[in-house]
Symmetry: C2
Subunit: 328 residues, 2 copies
């Protein structure tokens, strides 16, 4: 029987989960839940019902895993523990500093209800975290580097849009090639924020806006841009729509470290993602961990977990013998 | 209390494990076991005793995990199940076709004795396998590519050394750059064996040997070289010692696959290793999985496992809360 998945929140990420379910033959989309008017949503999957978010608990016997597709700032801290009271859940909570308290809240709710909750699933946190852990365990005493991009940063794009005279904007984070090469060489360089990434902004200004003032405001914006070399391009609304509609992202996790009795040998471990669609890739990771949540709960496990706590085999449709035969 | 590690077999891999233990503060080398005369071995670690391999069972209460550092062809199929009767064990069994029967033999012995055995640990099988599994689970319907090198292939070097007139030789497997780039582009190319790797051989010939005949014998050798573009360089014994003493290796695991309702977005996941010392890196992975074997057994688990069955957190010295704080 297929794993019955519920989606709570139908934005880019929720739609990405819907697409991921289509690609996984052992899953089916059971229902979508939204805080908007359910009648206003057109989901892609034929015949799937849309319900109000607050009615989710009533569907608890019809859903094996609820994938919670809200934002980390305000949605997930409330929704995830709440939903863990009724469902096995997976979320993509990514506010690093608040992971301990989120973990504790989800753990409490999931233990009380007898469910599994897997939090902070995606690529960072998620696949990048896993690669940091594996590489740290193999090369103790080494050095970690994470580069992001080339990709769209939603937060930085939003910050530009809030500037007076800006109608729309898109910001790309770009890793610096020579910094990447220095890290790959195994020389363990010390790199400043400015040396690791550049920022490129495509801005649509209001008619008659002071472009030089907008540019100055962007490149001097503290936290967001002032520590980086930032380039600002003013383009038309048509160009923005035509050339910058996508949400690509990706990045690199690299660890280099030494082995040998006298540290005589160097090693470099590199993990790289190149993603056409950030939300769809994140959603694909969420779907794989939904499979794990369902299986773990069927085995009697409960409580909150992160990607660190899940044996890789739980992510795959294949059984142990097949996995060893085909992928080991 | 430190995890007490035993090493069975003191070649390049065994010495690598000894070095890895030095880099892991929660481990100590308890003893080395050898089929050679124990008095003939000079181990690097001060004060560590060397015993005959056949006396290992007597030390079963002094060792938490035995890391078995023999060869896959004849040593491990016999040694690993035997040792799993007395110890938690880790090995690097890498004969892909025989993994199912090796798994079954180790599982039986480990269950009967109440121990954990983790087989086929290293980088391929091992870290490469893990990356295949994760990438397959995230991007179903995608395509896998594995490239090896640049690195020394022991088997191919040995094959050259058996040719008449050859005194010594070293063979490098080299991934073809344009094939790698084609894979990274996400175009999912169909690649022949010849298109993926080239082979480069450095050969020391006997005085007066027929060099052209040696070259012909190498490049036409079935299975080993005839399917590849192979370059042969004749060099002096001094040059071989000076320029080709190392055992570097590495490679790439790449999966690309599509997401979206109509498969409209492409993604590329790449894992790369660049290793100065193949045996020392393999040994470092073995050490991390020895930690996992010990912990799992302390929790009451028994039987044979592969890297697919081990939750990543078991590899790290850090506890769950610290891992979430530092690496998630």
């Amino acid at each position: 029987m297929a794993i019955r998945i519920g989606i709570l929140g139908y934005g880019n990420l929720g739609r990405g989960v819907e697409c991921a379910i289509k690609h996984n033959q052992d899953m089916e989309l059971a229902a979508v839940f939204t805080r908007r008017n359910p009648a206003s949503l057109n989901v892609l999957t034929q015949g799937v019902k849309v319900y109000r978010a607050e009615d989710a608990p009533e569907k608890k016997n019809e859903i094996d895993v609820m994938i919670i597709c809200g934002g980390s700032a305000t949605d997930l801290p409330k929704q995830t523990p709440e939903m863990a009271g009724y469902f096995n859940i997976v979320d993509s909570f990514d506010t690093h500093a608040k992971i301990p308290e989120h973990f504790a809240a989800v753990d409490k709710a999931a233990r009380e209800s007898g469910h599994v909750g897997i939090i902070s699933v995606g690529w960072d946190p998620g696949m990048f975290s896993l690669n940091r852990l594996y590489a740290n365990a193999i090369l103790p005493g080494g050095k970690d580097y994470t580069f992001w991009g080339k990709g769209v940063s939603q937060g930085h794009s939003d910050a530009i849009r809030r500037i007076e005279g800006v109608r729309d904007a898109k910001q790309y984070t770009i890793p610096v090639d020579c910094a990447l090469e220095a890290v790959r060489s195994g020389s363990n360089p010390e790199l400043t924020v400015r040396e690791k990434h550049t920022r490129e902004c495509f801005v649509v200004a209001e008619d008659g806006a002071d472009l030089e003032k907008i540019r100055e405001t962007i490149i001097n914006m503290p936290n967001y841009f002032s520590d980086y070399d930032t380039t600002v391009h003013f383009i038309s609304e048509e160009e923005l729509k035509r050339d910058h509609a996508g949400i690509p992202h990706g990045g690199f996790v690299i660890r280099s470290g030494r082995t040998g009795w006298e540290n005589e040998h160097n090693h470099v471990i590199e993990y790289r993602l190149k993603l056409d669609s950030n939300p769809e890739f994140t959603a694909s990771v969420l779907a794989a961990y939904a499979r794990a949540a369902h299986r773990l709960n069927q085995e009697g496990q409960i409580g909150c977990k992160s990607v660190f706590d899940i044996a890789p085999a739980y992510l795959s449709e294949l059984d142990g013998a097949e996995l060893r035969k085909r992928l080991l």
